[in-house]
Amino acid sequence: MLGYIWGAMLIISLICSIYTGKMEELSSAALNGAAQAVELTLSLLGVMALWSGLMKIADKGGITAILARIFSPVLRILFPDYKPKSPALKAICANMAANLLGLGNAATPFGIAAMKEMQKENKTPEVANRSMVMFVVLNTASIQLIPTTIAAMRASAGSKQPFDIIVAVWIVSFLSLFVGIITAKCFEAPVERRRLRSNRGGRNGNNR
């Protein structure tokens, strides 16, 4: 998909510059853009290395497990199909904790482990069940505590207050996550009702 978007961007810019008569600017932009990208990579390199180093200390100290334990009561409400001590819920908690800390590299393996655990109890292996949808929706919303990359980009572009957006990021992340959860729950209700009706007397614990 990205391939098409990228191709379209390049072709549109050519067509557009024929229309606007900005061919000269376009050709210098093509060369400068590449240089700009290297500049950005290098200017972010220090901050990203510093931050990953610090997060590694927290990670080695077991912060993910501690946060996962704190999250567990909330996540139990969102994933009522799994018992508190089940491996699925444990992996979900670890994934959420790693996401919150911005440990993308650690979050993905926990997330895949969670999906595999949920798949074990899935009766229709090609169709996502309600817990899987909830989990993926939680992962498509960003819940990062400290938006390091954005702040580093702001700093490298000359912001005087690279972190002054942090409270706004928290509020907007939380609210959009909330909207995602509510939307998922709204879609889920009729699907669950239909499923319950079709296998009445089936397994317990799903009668909401």
């Binding site: 978007i5 990228w6 961007m9 810019s13 557009c16 510059s17 229309y19 900005k22 600017e25 376009l26 210098s28 932009a29 853009g33 590449a34 700009q36 990208a37 990579t41 972010l44 390199l45 990203m48 510093l50 990953s52 610090l54 997060m55 590694k56 200390i57 927290a58 080695k60 100290g61 997330g111 895949i112 999906m115 292996p125 090609e126 996502a128 899987m132 949808v133 989990f135 993926v136 929706v137 992962n139 498509t140 919303a141 960003s142 938006p147 980009m153 702001r154 572009a157 912001s159 207050q161 972190f163 002054d164 706004a168 990021v169 609210l175 959009s176 909207v179 995602g180 998922a184 699907v191």
Partner: protein, 173 residues
């Protein structure tokens, strides 16, 4: 707001170091290990950044963004949404590197401390690469029917886009 922003970095560093000491983590070794991973992952996104930043700066130079902004401003202004940010909002769910390229372009053309710069920062920081997450997680277990995942995830992204300018207006002056 600025006070919290100023405190976040030093306090997090101090907390992490104290936590590491309490848990007897070999501090500097862990730090250099992690820093190395950070460098590797930064370099691993460099090729896609080079491709996408080139494309974005070509679009910028061609005058495409001005044309798009003019066309869309009647719709976006009704929502109180700065139309300059719309390309970023559309790119955010699809590509992480693509949205960094657009964010960087907005920072260059408007200041990062402008209303547009701040709103763009909040949009980029408060949503995820939705389609990537969906592909990775469902792909890992071979699920083909994702049910209502995409509408719910996009609804959440849309909420973030509508709320970002509102929250910036309320919080900053």
């Amino acid at each position: 707001m600025e006070i919290i922003g100023n405190f976040v970095v030093p306090i997090s560093i101090a907390l992490i170091v104290i936590f590491g000491l309490c848990r007897k983590v070999p501090l500097f070794e862990a730090f250099t290990d992690g820093a190395k991973e950070g460098i590797v992952s930064m370099f691993s996104i460099a090729p896609s950044l080079i491709g996408l930043i080139t494309a974005v700066s070509m679009l910028r130079a061609s005058g495409f963004f001005e044309i798009l902004t003019d066309l869309l401003s009647p719709i976006t202004s009704a929502l109180g949404f700065p139309s300059e940010i719309l390309p970023l909002a559309l790119m955010r769910p699809v590509s992480g590197s693509g949205s960094f390229a657009l964010l960087n372009d907005l920072f260059k053309n408007f200041s990062p401390d402008s209303f547009i710069g701040r709103t763009a920062s909040v949009i980029a920081g408060s949503t995820e690469t939705t389609f990537y997450a969906i592909a990775v997680y469902y792909g890992s277990i071979g699920i083909q029917k994702t049910g209502y995942t995409i509408p719910a995830a996009l609804m959440s992204d849309f909420a973030g886009m509508v709320l970002a300018p509102l929250v910036i207006r309320i919080l900053i002056k």
